[in-house]
Amino acid sequence: MTQVPSPELKLEIKKMIMETLNITDINPENVDDEKPLFGSDNALTLDSVDAIEIIMAIQRNYGIRIADQSMARYVIRSINSIAEFIMTEREKNKL
């Protein structure tokens, strides 16, 4: 069974997103884990163009390629969904 992502991993993801997208005016610790990253009510005012930046940052930082675009839409919904995806992929690679 996949482990629950740690708060450290979630913070690491938030910092990765901030750094990748050059967001300097928000404290990563204040970003809600569950709030959507995209859309009108999003935590970081991201748009669809930022999605590719995040997908590639995940590949660079965690060595995980999200090849499937419809899967990518779900992975990058929120900090929680990214963290869960990374945990699941790490588990798979262990097997």
Partner: protein
């Protein structure tokens, strides 16, 4: 009316996903990458000046509908297909088929799939979903872009199936009517790969295949002459990212799927060299993603001077080189 017992699965692309899902539910074991590869889904076309487009554009996959038709030819599967003159007729036929417990794929405008978040929905009238039931005024939908079965109001489905515009669906629906007991996968995989090599290397038109990628590379510095202003140009450059990454499955996504096709093909055909080609195709997909990223960055930052566009062109020339080498090797592996 009740829901048909239907196994829903997410997929990388709507058309290959809908076809795979219908076939799997009808008892044929086939994966989405095999459907995509056998039907020669990979393609490239660049359109610099065309009457139907006000701005240059490009495509990274074959024509909508050809995944189904090519697969049908190569595996001997027969699909029932129909279009309608009026929405009433089209909705009535759908209900009749559902009454008979037949899951039906329909072509729709993505914008009306209101179970998806609003920011994701754009007007693309060549999205494919499978309708698997009806409950009151709602249809039960299997959409490969959504993790589970969902409901869609009849009014939304009706609008989505009968929108106008280029490639308008006219209520188009299809479902498998006949599936051979033992389709010849080996022959179909080889035929699919052969046709893909032909499409990418041999079509004698300067805007198709590898020649098309080179034309795109050469012509992109001319894009400012089509734009009204910098905002318009920036929008069009960022659209490269949308076409490569977001709409449908994207240039990279299709390449990743083709990589899986080669991987599975290498096992079925016992061709270890396809395993190597599969890894190479994965890297080719990454290269398209780099282009997508570069285009979105320069578009967003309005860095659209001649040097930047030339740089983008150079990246595209690079893709043409590696894809040409790749498809020549694939072609040689078929001899």
């Amino acid at each position: 009316m009740s829901t048909i017992d239907y196994k829903h699965k997410m997929a990388a692309h709507c058309e290959s996903g809908a076809v795979t899902s219908l076939l799997n539910n009808a008892g044929l074991e086939i994966t989405e990458p095999l459907v995509f590869g056998i039907s020669s889904g990979i393609f490239f076309g660049y359109f610099h000046k065309m009457r139907s487009f006000t701005f240059p554009t490009f495509i990274v996959r074959n024509r909508p509908g050809s995944i189904r038709s090519n697969l049908s030819k190569r595996l001997g599967i027969k699909f029932y297909t129909e279009q309608f003159r009026t929405p009433d007729e089209g909705m009535r036929r759908l209900d009749e088929l559902l009454e008979k417990n037949i899951p039906v794929a329909v072509q729709v405008d993505f914008f009306y799939m209101d179970y998806l978040p609003e920011w994701e929905r754009v007007h693309i009238n060549v999205h494919f979903i499978v309708v698997v039931g009806k409950s009151g005024s709602k249809y039960i939908i299997s959409d490969s872009y959504f993790p589970n079965l969902v409901e869609l109001e009849s009014t939304s489905l009706r609008k989505a199936r009968f929108v106008g515009g280029n490639m308008s669906p006219k209520g188009f629906l299809f479902y498998p009517e006949f599936i051979p007991k033992e389709p010849d996968f080996k022959k179909a995989i080889l035929k699919g790969a052969k046709k893909t090599c032909f499409n990418m290397l041999k079509i004698p038109m300067p805007f198709i295949g590898i020649k098309g990628i080179r034309m795109f590379a050469k012509k992109i510095p001319e894009w400012p002459s089509f734009a009204r202003d910098i905002e318009h140009l920036s929008h069009e450059i960022m659209k490269i990212n949308i076409l490569l990454e977001d709409q449908g499955t994207g240039g990279a996504g299709f390449r990743f799927m083709y990589s899986s096709f080669l991987q599975q093909g290498s096992i079925i055909l016992n061709k270890p060299d396809w395993g190597e080609l599969s890894k190479e195709m994965m890297e080719i997909g990454d290269g398209w993603r780099e282009i997508s990223l570069f285009a979105s960055r320069i578009g967003k930052n309005r860095e659209l001077g001649p040097e930047r566009l030339k740089e983008l062109g150079t990246m595209l020339y690079g893709r043409a080189e590696v894809e040409e080498r790749f498809f020549r090797r694939l072609k040689n592996s078929l001899n």
